[in-house]
């Protein structure tokens, strides 16, 4: 029984594999093979590009597609307006690209393309990818903060009205909470996506193993797991959207700190 269930490895879907025979491609001693992760990033970027291109006809009376694009841009625009204010307009292109890239990556990874033999790869389920996106956001916060306020940016770590005696205590706490932001930002997206995909694969393993164990198990355990999988799949689509939104929201909250201080 143990060997049988061992056949379905829920972690196999996260394996990064070089494609198109590029596994020994190197640049300056580093392997730069074109992997399935990179392929799905390219697909996400192309999908985003196509989505925008078809909706940017600037018709006075927008069609359905233009309406969809305007809803998404308007959503990010109002997000930054609510969190940063008028000065946040400059960051709309960055936050919009980030939000749409993560959203498309999450959703494309959930596509049931395995039926036709294509195995979608969720690149947001890797900390290397989400970590770099988080560092990008964090770098923008640091650059904007120091550019606009110089060393006055450090006043971010001392909230208004802090008694002088408390400053030596508050400053390190605020500094640490500031420095863990890129980690928590990247980790949240990566773990949420990983956990969801592992859960779906474990349930899929239940369905297959129960069906193999005979009709009685197939109907009771297998069918129940299958119904649960449908529900979890719907939940995962919600999580995919919520995590992309949370990433964009926290990025705009951090940008607000850099632009407006406290």
């Amino acid at each position: 029984m143990a060997a049988e269930s061992g056949k379905i490895d829920p972690m196999h879907q996260f394996l990064v594999e070089p494609l198109f025979g590029t596994d020994h491609l190197a640049l300056g001693g580093y392997n730069i093979a074109f992997t399935n992760s990179a392929l799905w990033m390219v697909i996400s970027a192309l999908a985003l590009w196509a989505f925008m291109l078809m909706g940017m006809k600037r018709a006075v009376v927008p069609g359905r597609w233009q309406m969809a694009v305007e809803t998404m841009t308007g959503f990010v625009d109002s997000l930054l307006m609510a969190n940063v204010g008028e000065k946040g307009k400059k960051f709309v292109p960055y936050v919009f690209s980030l939000f749409m890239f993560i959203l498309l990556g999450n959703l494309l990874g959930l596509m049931p393309l395995g039926i036709v033999g294509v195995h979608p790869f969720t690149f947001t389920s890797h900390f290397t990818v989400t970590g770099v996106l988080a560092i990008l956001s964090f770098a923008i916060v640091l650059i904007v903060g120091f550019w606009k306020h110089g060393f006055h940016f450090f006043s971010l770590f001392i909230p208004h009205g802090t008694p002088a005696v408390m400053i030596p205590v508050i400053f390190p706490i605020e500094l640490v909470s500031f420095m863990v932001r890129p980690f928590s930002l990247g980790l949240r997206l990566f773990v949420a996506m990983t956990a969801g995909h592992v859960l779906l694969k474990v349930l899929a393993g239940f369905v297959i193993n129960a069906s193999n164990a005979g009709p009685a198990y197939g109907v009771t355990v297998g069918f129940a797991s299958f119904v649960l999988m449908i529900g979890i799949s719907a939940l995962e689509m919600l999580v995919a959207a919520v995590q992309a939104y949370v990433f964009a929201l926290l990025t705009s909250v951090y940008i607000n700190d850099a632009v407006n201080l406290h």
Partner: protein, 75 residues
Amino acid sequence: MDAEAAKLIGAGLAAIGAGMAALGVGNVFASFLEGALRNPGAADGQQGRLFIGFAAAELLGLLAFVIAMILVFVA
């Protein structure tokens, strides 16, 4: 105790953290709904804060999941 067994027990115990985070996330949304039904006019303006609270509560549960994964697959 066998080290392998201890690892798996630890991974199982980490699931308690995930359950606690479920309480936290439920509490965030429950409190939001409670407030939103009392004053629906102010509800829309607080959605950003709702999701910040959700993200903070959820992160701790996800950390518990990371601990479990590290114990099972890495350690």
